[in-house]
Every structure is written in structure tokens, then in C-alpha cells.
Symmetry: C2
Subunit: 878 residues, 2 copies
């Protein structure tokens, strides 16, 4: 039997997401529930995949199937496609399995042409509406399908408005609209060298193709990479009979949430525009009215909508985000989906739904995106600093959090400035999908136009980036790279601050303080998460301050305490350099003696900050040349400080030069060459543990981690040094103290021979940063140059340094887990690479049976939640 590529809405349901996409499945579900949905059909995601398989062609079978369903739709509506007296018009919209806001393009009013528009005008008795619809269609089709410049169309509208001396689109009449359609078609012909397509079937097929094509546009690819959406999913296409919110003042269109997406408050939240089509709300050209106003304007419609909204929320058992259109006081539902929400709202909604008896605790834990918590963890304004700061303007509180940075006006500049370490605030008239990368790096986003559901607002909330939108008082001049607000001019590079929770804008840098995510909702949800998760969550912290921060966020230990960062300050770096230039062991020992008290002091501070929780201290890792200067002037100065000749220092630097430092003399290789370094570090670790233990509050059991091990004998060698040193100190102190020695698994060979390595290691910590580099055979520092080509050509869909590569690196991890446990069933296993704070990687770690993940302090709550979700989805048998 031939595959079915097209489904009527009435043929599907909400569980057919994979085939129909989210939008299609939900339209089907609403249809099933008898809600007022304009009918139509969905072309499946498989048709999209087939389109790519066929070399970007819609094959004859699928075309025929679409035509067949189009005929059905004509019958359903009692209208013919392209009928000169009463044409059937449709919308064509993309709908992937996962929501990809703003990524895919929509076409409305498809089916109009020079003849049909006349019939449409007659039939609706509304020529202005008919021509408005036509010019919108030409505009959208040209932009989305034919990739003509949007800007030129806007300029034409502005010209016509200027000529007529009006400011609002709404001031244009039927003739103006007709004139616009003529001018648009002329521009189209000039650009494309052919007439604007008049055959509705051609229009439809081109539109479907455009949707399929847009699955592979660069913006979509970037979004997918960010959100780990596989390329081979494809998108569905929804073809739906048009209803019109722009037939006059009895019509309108809007979007609404069943609960407030910013706060989670339980009340209809949204906005609508009278006499408008859908894109007007999103584009933010006119400022819409709050949904509550609809109660006054059209009480019956509002009541019907409220009832439907309530039913949908009960049906989906989650907060819904709905689109609707009112045509001549009749309500139509165009879409529903689980609503995007801020982290705070996500927490409140999840907890409230539990309290309302709608979902279980486990479900609540699954309802919050771990990555979203970021927003709660980000800094807020320092209250004192804020008191002195003057508000220069106010926009919509589109995405919470506080941000302070320097003004830039384009996404490219945002990227550039940020790449060189500047904090930036991206200021735009409005944002569009092309701005994604710039938005990603910005500390905050400020837009002149657009509401709470504008592109800027939706995307910023998704990213957890602070955003103030729709501040109409701002006058932007892109060319001069400046904006005016409140009578003052702000230029590129000037400092401003944004409060995404109030909408306030400050014309200066306002200091920020760390977030305090200890709200009741946060606490309750994280409490459930902690109850269900099966892995411990540790943190990577090198200082007492970071350790304390991580403890506040719920870290249960330190999985990676890097000792080298401690050597870079003041007197320490000098002693470190003395150690490096030492000509023999006794000179080296002398320098190490000087480092000992610093290191011991650091460890004491960290033990105390961690309140007796496990602390895994990694021994010196980077190649020694990292501690030496490279600039001529520094070399001169430092040679003087060290009391050696410049020539000698240069010789040392030259002798330490490496062709591939990543694979050079570092990690435990240093301890093999200079065991006295390991002795000093052991002494510091153990002395500090004894000192803190003797204070009587905490009983410290230190953990020492040997990095870059590739062979059990090298671990044994260093371990023997550690054990000899530690045992002697402990014995001399007459104290009863346990300690463990373990290793990083970050070299492929260590994973491959983990059964051997486990003989000398009481714990493994997977260093997936280096393990990824070596397993892929590319250096993180260099890969940037060619990885963009790899993404472009879809060889890699996500950055293996952000998301653990489960097929390759993951296989090594799995192997090492199994081999390690075979030798030592109670071996303690964890991960301390960047991946420890990435939710999908955390899920993988849960799946392979790690005991803990360790991540940076700000990612600890994320890891807690991700670990809980993984455990709820696939609990481990203990």
C-alpha cells in the first residue's frame, strides 16, 4: 500500500505529532473535540523527508495526493480554489514536531489572484479587505516563497502612506490597497523577471515547497543545533481554510495563554487586535489590546473563548498558548499548544497544577525545562545601586532578569563585541530570526516595537535572556549607530541597563548581584527533583567563593577542584615560575615549599565552604609553559624577578615549547617527571584536611584525582607517591583519616583499559572535554575554523563540546563504566566535563549508571532537575 502523505484534520489526533507536527496534531485534536477550527489538512513530515530524498522535489504521487485533498477542502467549504466569484482561500503554515518559533514561515490568503480578488471583494462586499488581503498575500508570498526583500515592500507602503499624508496602515483605503497590490506585482516582476503567479495550484505547490525548504534554512539549522532537534525529523505543512480577522471592526485576531507566561499566574493572558490578520499581532506594528478588553468589546466571543481555553488546558493538562481569529463576531481557533513560559512561570504552573490535582509531582518535575532555570540563576540588580539609577524609559517586561552592557545595534556587532569580551545590550527596532546569534551573546535585548509575544520576547524567554520590548519612545538611527530616549542620545558602546522583570531601562551601568532562586515554587519543585533523582550533583569549583555559591544551589560535593588556577596570583606565580626554571630537584623542592602554604590555605577554605561534603582535588594539569610569559617585555621583567638571565628564561621557554600542547607534557605526566610536585600537592591536601578536621566541625576525607592517565602503571606510579606522602603525614599527625585516590578518564586509552586502571583508582571522573577532543581528533581551539562547514553540510548537528557525543565518546564512557565496575564493583563514577551541566548529557550519564555529575555552580540546579527527569523517565533499578 502506498504511504499516506496527507491527513485531514479530522483524521488525526494529538498523539500523531511525529507525523503531523505539533500544530497539525493539535488542530486535529481540537477538531476531534468539536471546537471551531477552520478545516484543512496536514501534509506529513514524511512528505518533507521525501522531498529531500527526491533532491528537493515534491514527487508526482505527493502532488496528486495534495490535489485530491484540496478538492475535498473545496467541497467542504463549498468554494473553489481560484473561483473568480467566491474563491477558496487558504493559509499555509509549517509545523514541526517540536515548536520552532519564528523559524518557519507562514503564508496567508493563498488562492487570490487578479481575478479572484475581484470576486472576493464582491462576495465580502468589502473591497478594502479584499485588496488588503491580496497585497498581504503578494507580500508574504514574495518574501517567504520567492525570497524577495521584505524591506522594499515596507518602503512601498511607506511611500503610499507619505503620498497620502497618513501614518497608519488603517488609514489606507481600498484603492490604496489595490494600488499597493499593483505596485507589489510590478516590483515582483522587475525582480523575478516573470509575472506574479496567478494559478492558485501553482501558488500552493510553491508555498508547500517553501515550507519544506525553510526546514533547511540557516536560521532553522542554528535553532535546531541550539535545541538539539534532529535534522531528519522534517516539518509538516498545514493547509487551512482562511478565516479573516481583517474584515472590519467586528473581526480581529489574537493570541492568548491560559496562564500568565511570565509569572504563571492563573488567568487568561494575551492580546488581540481588531481588524487585523495574525501577523500584525506578532510583528508588533500596532500595539494590541490586552485580552481582558475583549470581555468588554465582544462579551459572547470572550466567554466562548474562555470556555474553550479552559477546556483545552484541562484536556492537555498544561498551560495552553492559543491563536484565534474572530471573523464577523464568530470565533475560530487556529492553534493551541503547550505555552512557552519563563522559568518562574514554569515553576509556578507546575507546582500549581500539582496543587490543583491536575498532575503528579513527577509530572511537575518533567514540566520544567532544566535549561530554563538559568534565568532564575542570573544576576539581579544590586538594590542599592538601583536606588541611585535613573529610569530613562520603560518597555514591556518581556523576559525577566537584569542586564547591563554596552549598546550595539546589529546582531553581527553583538557577536563581534562579545567575542572580544564585552558585555552588550542589543538594541533593535524589532528582532527577526536572523538576529538569533546576536541575541544569544547579548546580556539583554531592547526593542522598540513588539509585544509580549513578539519574536524578541519569545526568543529571549526561551534563552533566559533579559528582554525589554516595545519601548515605542525610542528613536533608533541605525546609520549613526545611536538611539534617542528621554531627550538624550545613546551611542554604540554606551552603557545601559535593562530590567526584564519590570521593563525599566537605565541609561547607565547598574551593578548586579547574584540570583537567589530560593522562591517557594523553586524550593518545592527542586525538592521533588531531589527526591526522584538517582545521581548526586557535584560542582566544579576552585575557590571557597565558588564552592559556597554551589552549595547554595544544592551542590553535594566538588567533583573537580582544579589546583592550577591557584598558582596564577601574585606571589604564587613567582614561586611557580621558580619551580619551572629550577635546574634540579632540590631547587624545585625549594620553590614547591613556597607554594605549599598557599595551596594548603586554599584547600582549607574550600573544605570549610563545602561543609564536610566530598571534595575531589585534581592535581596540576596544564603544561608548564602556560605559567611563563610570552611577550618580550614580560620576559625581561620576569627574568629579573626570578634573578636569572633573560637568555636562560628564553631557553626554558624554548625547551617547553610544544607542537601540540594539548597532547604534550601535562597532567600526570608532570608528576611522573617531577614526583615532588605530587608530593607537595598531597601534603597540602592532607595538611588542610587535618587542620579543618581538628577544628572539630567537619571530618574531612580528601579525594585526590590524577589527571590525564592513559595507562594504569602511570597512575600507580603517581598514586604510590601520593600514598607514601599522605600515609606518613596522617601517621605523624596521629589522626584517623581516610582518603581516596582516583583518576580522570579523559584519554581514550584510559577508557579502553579501564579494567586495569580501576585497579589503582577508587573513583573515575570522566573528563569529557579532553575525551571529546581526543576521540574526535580535533582540538577545541582549532576546530572552530572547520566546524562551521561541518554544520553547514550537516555532518555534525550539534557541538560535541556542548552535548556529549553519545555514539563515539559515549561509547567509551559506557565501556569504561562497565570495565571499571568489573574490576571494582563499588568504584565511584562521575563526570566533570562541561557536559555535566547539559541536560541531555546528564540524561545520558544517568542512563550509563554514573553516581554523580559535576558542573559549574550556576548549572547545579539545572543538573539536579535534569537528573530527576532522567530518573523519572527511566528509573534505575538499584
Amino acid at each position: 500500500m502506498a504511504k499516506k502523505y496527507v491527513y485531514k484534520f479530522s483524521e488525526g489526533n494529538k498523539d500523531m505529532r511525529e507525523l503531523l507536527g505539533g500544530k497539525g496534531a493539535n488542530l486535529a485534536e481540537m477538531t476531534l473535540a468539536g471546537m471551531p477550527v477552520p478545516q484543512g489538512f496536514t501534509i506529513t513530515t514524511e512528505a518533507c523527508t521525501q522531498y529531500y530524498t527526491d533532491g528537493r522535489q515534491i514527487n508526482a504521487d505527493i502532488q496528486a495526493e495534495i490535489a485530491q485533498y484540496m478538492t475535498w477542502l473545496e467541497g467542504e467549504n463549498g468554494k473553489k480554489f481560484g473561483d473568480p466569484s467566491d474563491p477558496l482561500l487558504v493559509s499555509v503554515r509549517s509545523g514541526a514536531r517540536a515548536s520552532m518559533p519564528g523559524m518557519m514561515d507562514t503564508i496567508l490568503n493563498l488562492g487570490l489572484n487578479d481575478v479572484a480578488v475581484e470576486g472576493f471583494a464582491l462576495k465580502t462586499e468589502n473591497p478594502r479587505f479584499a485588496y488588503d488581503s491580496y497585497r498581504r498575500f503578494i507580500q508574504m508570498f514574495s518574501d517567504v516563497v520567492m525570497e524577495l526583500s521584505k524591506k522594499r515592500f515596507e518602503e512601498i507602503i511607506d511611500e503610499v502612506k507619505a503620498k497620502k499624508g497618513v501614518k497608519q496602515d488603517i488609514d489606507l483605503d481600498a484603492d490604496d490597497m489595490k494600488q499597493l497590490s499593483v505596485m507589489f506585482k510590478a516590483f515582483y516582476k522587475k525582480e523575478k523577471g516573470e509575472d506574479f503567479p496567478q494559478d492558485p495550484k501553482v501558488q500552493l505547490m510553491e508555498a508547500v515547497k517553501a515550507v519544506f525548504r525553510s526546514w533547511d534554512n540557516p536560521r532553522a539549522n542554528v535553532y535546531r543545533r541550539m535545541n538539539e532537534i534532529p535534522y531528519d525529523w522534517g516539518t509538516a505543512v498545514n493547509v487551512q481554510s482562511m478565516v479573516f480577522g481583517n474584515t472590519g471592526n467586528n473581526s480581529g485576531t489574537g493570541v492568548a495563554f491560559t496562564r500568565n507566561p511570565a509569572t504563571g499566574e492563573k488567568a487568561l493572558f494575551g492580546e488581540y487586535l481588531i481588524n487585523a490578520q495574525g501577523e500584525d499581532v506578532v510583528a508588533g506594528v500596532r500595539t494590541p489590546s490586552p485580552i481582558s478588553k475583549l470581555k468588554d468589546e465582544m462579551p459572547e466571543v470572550f466567554e466562548e473563548f474562555s470556555k474553550i481555553a479552559n477546556n483545552l488546558e484541562n484536556h492537555y493538562r498544561d498551560m495552553q498558548d492559543m491563536e484565534f481569529t474572530i471573523q464577523d463576531r464568530k470565533l475560530y481557533m487556529l492553534q493551541t499548544r503547550n505555552g512557552k513560559r519563563t522559568a518562574a512561570a514554569a515553576l509556578k504552573v507546575a507546582v500549581d497544577l500539582v496543587d490543583e490535582g491536575m498532575i503528579s509531582e513527577k509530572e511537575a518535575v518533567l514540566r520544567v525545562e532544566p535549561k530554563q532555570l538559568d534565568a532564575l540563576l542570573h544576576p539581579q540588580f544590586d538594590a542599592e545601586a538601583l536606588k541611585k539609577a535613573a529610569v530613562i524609559g520603560k518597555g514591556l517586561a518581556a523576559s525577566p532578569g537584569a542586564a547591563c552592557g554596552r549598546v550595539v545595534f546589529t546582531a553581527e556587532e553583538a557577536k563581534e563585541w562579545s567575542d572580544r569580551g564585552e558585555k552588550v545590550i542589543l538594541v533593535r527596532l524589532e528582532t527577526s530570526p536572523e538576529d538569533i546569534e546576536g541575541m544569544q551573546v547579548a546580556k539583554g535585548i531592547l526593542t522598540v516595537r513588539g509585544g509580549m509575544t513578539s519574536h524578541a520576547a519569545v526568543v529571549a524567554r526561551g534563552m533566559g535572556t533579559c528582554c525589554v520590548s516595545g519601548c515605542g519612545e525610542i528613536v533608533v538611527n541605525y546609520e549613526k549607530k545611536q538611539f534617542e530616549l528621554d531627550g538624550k542620545t545613546y551611542r554604540e558602546g554606551d552603557w545601559i541597563s535593562l530590567d526584564g522583570s519590570t521593563g525599566n531601562i537605565y541609561g547607565e551601568a547598574v551593578g548586579t548581584v547574584p540570583a537567589n532562586p530560593s522562591s517557594g515554587y523553586f524550593g518545592r519543585l527542586m525538592g521533588w527533583a531531589d527526591q526522584y533523582r538517582q545521581m548526586e550533583i557535584y560542582t566544579n569549583a576552585d575557590t571557597p567563593k565558588d564552592a559556597a555559591q554551589a552549595r547554595k544551589f544544592g551542590a553535594e560535593g566538588i567533583g573537580l577542584c582544579r589546583t592550577e588556577h591557584m598558582f596564577f596570583e601574585g606571589a604564587r606565580i613567582k614561586a611557580m615560575r621558580e619551580m619551572i626554571v629550577a635546574e634540579n630537584e632540590s631547587e624545585r623542592r625549594k620553590a614547591l615549599e613556597k607554594l605549599l602554604p598557599y595551596q594548603q590555605g586554599d584547600f582549607e577554605g574550600i573544605y570549610e565552604a563545602m561543609e564536610g561534603c566530598p571534595v575531589i582535588i585534581r592535581f596540576l594539569d596544564p603544561p608548564l609553559h602556560e605559567f611563563l610569559p610570552t611577550k618580550e617585555s614580560d620576559i625581561q621583567e620576569i627574568a629579573g624577578e626570578l634573578g636569572i638571565t633573560v637568555e636562560k628564561l628564553k631557553n626554558v621557554i624554548a625547551s617547553l615549547h610544544e607542537f601540540n600542547p594539548m597532547m604534550g607534557h601535562r597532567g600526570c605526566r608532570l608528576a611522573v617527571s617531577y614526583p615532588e610536585i605530587a608530593e607537595m600537592q598531597t601534603t597540602a591536601v592532607i595538611n588542610a584536611a587535618i587542620a579543618v578536621t581538628k577544628k572539630g566541625v567537619y571530618k574531612i576525607s580528601p579525594n585526590i584525582m590524577i589527571p590525564l592517565v592513559g595507562e594504569v602503571k602511570e597512575l600507580k606510579y603517581v598514586r604510590d607517591v601520593v600514598v607514601a606522602t599522605a600515609d606518613k603525614i596522617i601517621k605523624d599527625a596521629g589522626i584517623d583519616m581516610k582518603y581516596e585516590v582516583g583518576t580522570m578518564i579523559e584519554i581514550p586509552r584510559a577508557a579502553l583499559t579501564a579494567d586495569e586502571v580501576a585497579k589503582e583508582a577508587e573513583f573515575f571522573s570522566f573528563g569529557t572535554n579532553d575525551l571529546t577532543q581526543m576521540t574526535f581528533g580535533f582540538s577545541r581551539d582549532d576546530a572552530g575554523k572547520f566546524l562551521s562547514a561541518y554544520y553547514e553540510k550537516k555532518i555534525y548537528e550539534s557541538d560535541p563540546f556542548a552535548h556529549l557525543d553519545q555514539n563515539g565518546v559515549g561509547k567509551l564512557v559506557k565501556m569504561a563504566v562497565e570495565l571499571g565496575r568489573k574490576t571494582r564493583p563499588d568504584i565511584h563514577l562521575g563526570i566533570c566535563g562541561e557536559h555535566g551541566g547539559d541536560p541531555t548529557s546528564v540524561e545520558f550519564c544517568h542512563g550509563v549508571g554514573l553516581d554523580y555529575v559535576s558542573c559549574s555552580p550556576f548549572r547545579v540546579p539545572i543538573a539536579r532537575l535534569a537528573a530527576a527527569q532522567a530518573a523519572i523517565k527511566a528509573p534505575r533499578v538499584k
Copy 2:
């Protein structure tokens, strides 16, 4: 039951090598066969291992067991240890499982002390002999056991001789010997602060300990690493009743082989000394007589010895190397073992033994060490000339053979001098790809820096050119065209000689004799090898000349034809650089157009040289910066040549800089970024194949190999480019031509995901050089700095770049073989890393089921033999 640590000779046999060591097992075997062996016992290798386990102590149990067997030996001899009237004397000798000549130390005459020596003199009625024995014992004990300087003892002997005015030891009488023993003891006391040990039991236990200890001395460790003898084997100790070759002119001692170890000729071969102890023969103080003279001097003894020798050879079915002592005309056998022999002798002996019906062809194949063949394939020094030559320095034996020529310092000079008929030795700090031409014409290459896998070493081995690398004592002054070594200055044009098999450097011309591997013996043995091996032997060759050489040595295909070396010469490098500095694809294509005819021509030459055998061509691999200049003056010049500004060239160089070039933009990553490179290379490969096929002699089926693949999609991307290009050319040519596309497996991830990779690869070639680097996480170029510490600390026992690491890298290879075959059962599998020419690695490749190994031309015979041995030892079920 307690472990037995000591065995009488009569308790063992030749199959107990592991426990008793080679010497002990053979002494036991001779005892069993009723041959005249002075009796004694063997302390097992397990006792040695126990000694190290116990922290370098002989534990009480083992001491007791030794004492018990000593008591038995006293009974056997009817003499008491330390008896003042007739003391039992013993020798103490090491004996490991594998012969380790010169590595372990021997002590004779143990049991003598100030009192016993008097009794010994009385009993033997030979005071000179007794005191000679005593002073020898003191000397050996002090040297071997107590590590006192040997030299000082020789000086004392010289002083005594000088005082007496004689020149030979033999001119010293009993009193002189007595005086020597007194002086030796005084020196001992001065140095050690205590008297020379008088208790024979103490002497014995110290001697046994010294043997155990010597297992771990630096020479032993180096020898083991060179010969892949595991550290944990340990050595046995043989304690044997002394017999004396120095009782007078009716006594003597000697060594002999059953066949000539240099030529293999079947006739007793050896030498002996009258009135001497064993070490005199070896030390070469007096010139011994050929064994044939013994027939005249002591015919009965000679006859008995001949008979025993003959029996031993028949018994062991191999040429024997024997030590004997004659005491008062009675023959004693002290040792027998399979004799070491030259490559030529090994071939002749093996073939002769087959002809004599003593062994089978398969056994014959097993009798020749593959590595030995090296000597037959390269010129060697004339033995006579070598005796007179003085070694002035030593580097690494990087590429075997002997060379003599005049010093030059640059590749250009090498070419110039060689063009006018001079033999040259190219002396460089280190070599780089630009030096290829100079290296090609040089007779030998000497470098200051770089290890066994440095550029110089790898390239020289490929060319079969003698190379000594990494002689750090050399101070080169390029400007003055001279180098200093061992206090002398060598200038351009001076003669020097190199031994690439030992690393020795001679400051003069030493005559060489050409290689002659074409003896009938070589042919017959290799014929048998080819008959029994189950893997194909390919070669790594980049030029028609190398290919032809490899064919002569029996290569059945090219497993690795690197295409980048072809880009370094004259006009090619210019076009290559144009390609690199190109600003866009069309400029790049223009430059590639210029490279195409060169590359095509090269491939045609190689196809023809290989006479239709498979040729696997690897696409461009190194990072592009390798083709650009680094020196300021070169940059100036080359910018001019390329017609671009110096600034632009510098910008390109800067943009290509990489932190870790090994893990950078190279291999197939280049083809992903610039698919037009792969197109050009494909065009060259296919055009060349068509051109050669059209000549009608050979039908070429090209093989294209994509390097550095880590993910199947990247292979697929490049493969698609190759296939599209190749199919079009083949179709346009209207020819029927098959070709295959495969990949290197040299990145851990490729091995881990080999089931996926195999979907797009018709063959795998394991690039074990890079695979080793990435699996171990160290760069070949940098590892030299720390690997010495690793050897010293016994973390690594052999160089993983020379011998495939079977536990780690080998595990990946095995995994990839299994996964690859699972996806594609007929996938063609081979290896093309340096390991392809290393016998133990070849054995591993046979074991995991590879179809072929590929190695440099001069290693082809070695690989053939190694593959045959592997197949004979463990034949694969087909």
C-alpha cells in the same frame, strides 16, 4: 604446599625455560642427557619476581631453600663451602627466559676467602692458580655485587705489572697474585668501609641478590625494551660447582658453535684459551686459538666435544652455541643454547636444516628473525674497515644500513654535490618536507633532534636510506657550514660514516659492502614464507621509484600512496601555494587545474610500476600551513612569486596557524571545506587509471582512501564528491572501470563507530600512527620530552609508535574490525601505519584478521616473513 624456588639441574629439563631460565633449562637437559655438566642448582625466575615483590629482599623461606640445596651440593661434591682445607667453590650466573647477552653478570670462584684460599692452594698444589682465582673472585664480586669501579682494579694490576716490569697477566706469579688479592681487599675496604666478606654464605646470598638486582639495571631495561622482553619475567640464578680452566696447561676454556654463526657453514666454529677462565675468552685480553687447533692439542677432548656438539644440535634441532671448560684434560659442558647468528647465517642454517631433513619448511620459516632481514637489504660496513674506525658519537638507530659520504648541510647542497657524483651525508638539525629531494640523494642522514618516528626517521626508512637521528651532542652551525662533535669540528665536504643499525657515527670514511639479499637461501626461505602466510603484504610508496623497489621486495600492492609529497617540488609547490592563498573557489579551482597534470602523471607512473597490483591512494592529509614558508626571507620571496603582497601572505599564514596542528584542519576536513580539492584528486586518479588501462597492458581499478575520518557523514560527504566526479569521467570515457572508496581508521571515533563508517567504506586502512597518538593522548613530536621518564619508571616498556600497543590501540583495531565486518562482511582491511613493518605488530594484525599489512618498501620482506610466522604459529581458519 609451599612453592618450590630451587631445582637441582637433575630436576629440570629444556621445557622448563620459564621457570629455570634458558641457561638453567639447558643445563638440566644436558644433565638428563648424561653429558659432563658440573652439578648445581637453579634458583627460579619466580624467586626473582618474589624478590621484587618483597621490596628487593630475598625472604627467609627462599634463603632456607637455597641453603638446603647448597648442603646437597656439598654432599654431591664431597666438599664443604668455606672448608679451610678443600673448599667447595661455585659460580653464580644469571639466566633469563630469553637470552640477554652481556646484560647480566657472572661471578666465578665464589666460596674463597683468606683461609679457604690457603687450603685451595694446598689441595690443588697450585698456589698461583689459587690466588689468581681469589683475586678474580674479589674483582668480580666487588664489581658485580658491590658496584665498585672495575677500572681501579685494572689499574692496580697494571701497577703491579709495571713494578715487576712485565706485560702479561700470565707473567705474574703466585706471590704477585696474592699481593693483588691483598691490594684488592684494601681498596674494597677503603671504598666500602668494611672488610671484604669472608663468609661464603654471605657471599652467595649477596651474589644471588646482585643477579636479581641486575634484572633491573639500566642496560637490562634498554635491552628488554629493544627486544620486547617483559619486565615481569625475571631472571633465574644458576649456582654451579666450579671447574677450572686455569689450573695449568692441561686446562682451558672456550666457546664454540656447531655451525658458523656469520655464514651458516656447517662445521664446528669457535675458539678456546689454554690455562684460562671463561671471562678471559670474552674479554679478549689474550688471543684465543681456533677450535680446530684443539684437535691437535687434545685430540680426545676434541673428539668428545665434537660428539657432544653433534648430539646437542640433533637434540635441539638447531645450531648450538656452547661454553666448555677443560680441567686437567677432562671436558665439562657449562652451557648450550641456540646460537645467535647473522641474517645470512640464519637463512643458510634454516634452509640447510630442511635439506638435512632435520626440520620442516614451516620450522625453517620460524627460525629466522624477521628484523634480521634488514641487514640483508641495506649496505653494511666492511667488517675489516670497521675494526679500525673510531666512534665519535651515537644517536638513535633510526633507519638501518651503513653509509659513508661527505658532509653537507642543506638539501640543495646534497642535490648539487650528488649531481656531480659525490656521495653525501646530509646533516640537519631536523628535516622537514622541503628536504625530501636532498634526502633522496643522500647516502645517509644525520639529525640533531628527533626520535625514531621523526620526519627524518620515517622518510629515511621509507627510502631505505641509512639514518641516525637525535644525536643531541652535535652542535651545528649552518652559517659556517660545520658541526662540532666530541670536541672536533667537521666541515662541509669532510667524510663521515653512519651506522643506522646501531646509531654509531664515525668521523671518517668507512668502506661499505652492498646489500645482497638475492642469495638462493633468501629466495627459498621467502618462498616458503609466502606459501604459508595468510595476509597480503602491501607497501607505502609515493613515487614510481619506491613502488618499483617495493615490487622487487615482493610487495603485492600499495597500501598507502600519500599524495601530498607530490606537491613539494618546483612548479607544483607554487601551484599548491596559489591554491592555498586563493580568495574564493574559482581561484582555487584555477590553481588546482595546474596541479592536476602533475598528479595524474605521478599516478600513471605508479600504476605502471605496480604492474596492475592494487594501489590505494590517500587524499591530501597535512594541514595547509605545511606548504607555506615560515622564514621571513622565504615569505618575501614567495609572496613575490605568487604576485601577492607580503602582508597578504602573512595574513594567510596567520589565519592557518593552529594551536594543535595534529588535531587541526587536515585530512578529510580539508575536503569538506574545499571539495574541489577532492574533485581534482579524483580526476587525477581516474584519468591516470584510464590512460594506463588504455595502453592495454594492465587493467587498473583505483582505490581512493579518505583520511582522518571520525564520523560516517563526513566520509559520505567526501565520498559523494569522489563518486560524482569519478562516475562522470568513467562514463565520458566510455570505459568499464571499477574503483573503490575507503577510509583510514586513525581517529578513535572512527574505530568506535566503525559499523557506521563501513556503510560508506569499501575498505579500512588502520593508520596506527595517528591512532596511537590520539588513543594515548600524546603527540609524537612532543612525547620525546617525557617518554624517557616513562621508560625509566617502567610505565611503558616499549615505544608505542614502534610496537603497536595491543591493550589500548589494539582494542580499538579489534573493535573496528568486528564492527566493520558486521556491516560489510567483505570489507577489505589492512594497516598502513609504521607498525605494518614491525614483526610483533604484524603478528597482531594476523591475529585480528586483517587482510593485508602495508609498510615501507624496505620492510616488505620483514613483513612477509613476520606474516608467515604468525600464520604458522596460529593459522586462521579460512
